[in-house]
Point group: C2
Chain length 137, copies 2
């Protein structure tokens, strides 16, 4: 089977690009700068479904995304998580958090309703992210 993006992940995000292992998506929720990394492999739901080599790629890509996001946004803290209780396809959240943001200091998942980006703001942020992630994408 070949890789296909879960339709719910596709509907909730803007595409940023591809790392060596993961597709990089921007969550369409302007409350938090929030990336989702999806390993481009079929039929994965747990991190232990990846090979050891792929896991090293995953953590390096999540770390690079987190460091770039922190430096781009001046965030207080990066939250990195693979949950998958709602969408089974293995995916890793990398979220920039700020003191006083809508969910601070709680988790972003399940907190309130997403506030979609205006089209122009999304396009601008995707362009900024591509520049910030240069060398990884």
């Amino acid at each position: 089977m070949t890789f296909g993006l879960d339709p719910r992940l596709a509907a909730d995000t803007h595409e940023v690009g591809d790392f060596a292992l993961c597709r990089v998506l921007l969550m369409n929720d302007s409350r938090y700068p929030w990336l989702i990394l999806v390993p481009r492999r079929a039929d994965l739901s747990e991190i232990h479904d990846l090979s050891a080599e792929e896991r090293t790629l995953l953590i390096e890509e999540a770390t690079g995304a987190g460091a770039a996001l922190k430096s781009l946004t001046g965030a207080k803290k990066i939250n990195t998580a693979a949950l998958g209780n709602m969408v089974a396809q293995l995916h890793c959240h990398v979220v920039a958090r700020f003191v006083g943001d809508d969910a601070w200091p709680g988790p972003v998942w399940g907190s309130g309703r997403a506030v979609p980006y205006e089209d122009e703001a999304a396009a601008r942020l995707v362009a900024d992210l591509r520049r910030a992630l240069e060398g990884l994408i």
Copy 2:
């Protein structure tokens, strides 16, 4: 500076043992089988504060803990996360989730109040975990 465990992490957990990189703790909340892995390095708060070699260890240890926890408990899903909005010391949650558990399908953080283990139940689970994690501890 040498490694010291954050007092809040120490207060909320039972010690399971040490992996090559991380101290392994059992969260004292009987609602979820829940491990916390703390890299035994001083002054870390983000995953990108670790070296690449340490990050590979971290993901291998978190993966081993998750696979062991899933196999020991029959969980539906493992949730793996490094948040750190409340406790700055870098630590990684590995939580066994079940359909219908107290927070399902939402995140465990910030959901209700912890239900501490009875002493005997905690001791039994720690012993089971040490057996399940054999080869890693």
